[in-house]
Amino acid sequence: MTIDQATVKKIASLARIAISDDEAAGLEGELNNILGWVEQLGEVDVSGVEPMTAVIPNKLRLRDDVVDADPLTGGGRRDDVLANAPEPQHGFFGVPKVIE
């Protein structure tokens, strides 16, 4: 399966990455090269094989259903959470206006 420049741009928009026409042209070749190579996986007979979901069998644990079970990942850390935000405003994350 080959992808064209329009598809490259579509993927870029799905990935939320702005790309120029020049970049799209370059990526078209690179992505086709890589995708052409991975297509050899189609040769493998996988009938009856389950896709891997966990590399080491490990039962998923659930956290205790209590508020602030772990003080580090619980609530009450607004200043820490906002410390690296580019535009914090009034204790919130700031973003460009989304509603007129």
């Binding site: 993927i11 995708l35 996986l41 389950e50 590399v55 580019p86």
Partner: protein, 493 residues
Amino acid sequence: MTDLTNLTVAQIRDGHRAGDFSAVEVAEAFNANVAAAKALNAFIVETPELAIEAAKAADADRAAGTLKPLSGVPIGMKDLFCTNGVQTTAASHMLEGFVPRYESTVSQKLWDAGAGMLGKLNLDQFAMGSSNETSYFGNVISPWRRNDGGDAALAPGGSSGGSSAAIAARLCPAATGTDTGGSIRQPAAFTGISGIKPTYGRCSRWGIVAFASSLDQAGPMARDVRDCAIMLENMAGFDPKDATSLNLPVPDWEAALSSDLKGKTVGIPKEYRLDGIDPDIDAMWDAGIAMLKDAGAEVVEISLPHTQYALPAYYIIAPAEASSNLARYDGVRYGLRDLPQGAGLQDMYAATRAEGFGPEVKRRIMIGTYVLSAGFYDAYYTQAQKVRTLIARDFEQAFASCDVILAPTAPSAAFGLGEKMADPLAMYLNDVFAVPASLAGLPAMSVPAALNREGLPLGLQIIGKAFDEQGVLNAGLAIEERAGFNARAEKWW
């Protein structure tokens, strides 16, 4: 007085314990080497004051008789581990200036064990790369050079290339690495040091900048096998904050080190004998087989029939997970924000991500987005995950007839910077021997075994059964003792 920077972790620990030198003297010696090695570009951030602070605490602990397992040992921290109050960038422009307000579990364990931090080590951007040429902060230069009299700059391997270069150049006795598809083992092989990726789940991933979550695993890099065992003991352990963390006790790997392999069987995978393989690599592999026999092991040929599909499966699965993990970099909560004049939210996301990610990261996000998109998900992603099941099954079947597997770590010695950058596929092929064990979540280590015709180090890889780090370390020790590898890069920096 001996140069303290030539000592191993075990020697520093024991010498400090015995009062042969102070921890502050050790930290000062390594700080001086770090400061004098800018030409290698191994560090993104240097933290000499933190190394001294930990050393003072270690000296006080010795006076008080409260020594810890790594008291007096300064280390390097790959800049993929979040460190409280110290910039953490994953070598990206996206996270330049990001100062975490929390500490990764692995780094916290090391500080709790008494280690000090010399600085944050350079790497491939978001750990994507095999040569350290994708860092936003410039290439790491290997301390090694070819013996042809030229001074071509060589790759230290990737992604943990800052770690490997720093250890090989005696800027730190040990460092952390992370391995997604070979990022501990390949750079260790390229620079003549040792490194082990433990069983997936041994080390907590909490606080490590995520690349491909089902593969990422932290591990130590150091000059020898014993140091790897010591470091790993102090990095591993159950962490309730990581849902994939193994709830198992951490064995005393150092105490159980033994190079006597009597009664053990070593498997040699016939599919790893690639056509046209570098004759130096082949010769080293044969020498490694002889060494393990000499240590008492029996050697058998095994088959891993799906080997050739490991790399293409990896280059679907890893980018797919990366495209999902890296969706968090949107310019809102942390990191870079690029807000063009009059832009709305969607434009801000796209501009920020265009500006913040390097070409290799974008390439992988694009591949991941494509293989996960509607209409292609089953053909690519589900197929790759099924192939992954078959690769893991290959190993299971092979381990019915052997205890560990011996193979080269990489198909070549270190290559020159720039030699492979133009062709992403050629670069990916460098991980051909490392990726299968990653897909299967198995412990695997690289130990230096020989120099090639150009005078560059080559590494042998030992792959073990899940949870059998001890078997891997012991076979590694048997090779280390017999290979007698003691070459080091001649100082030019």
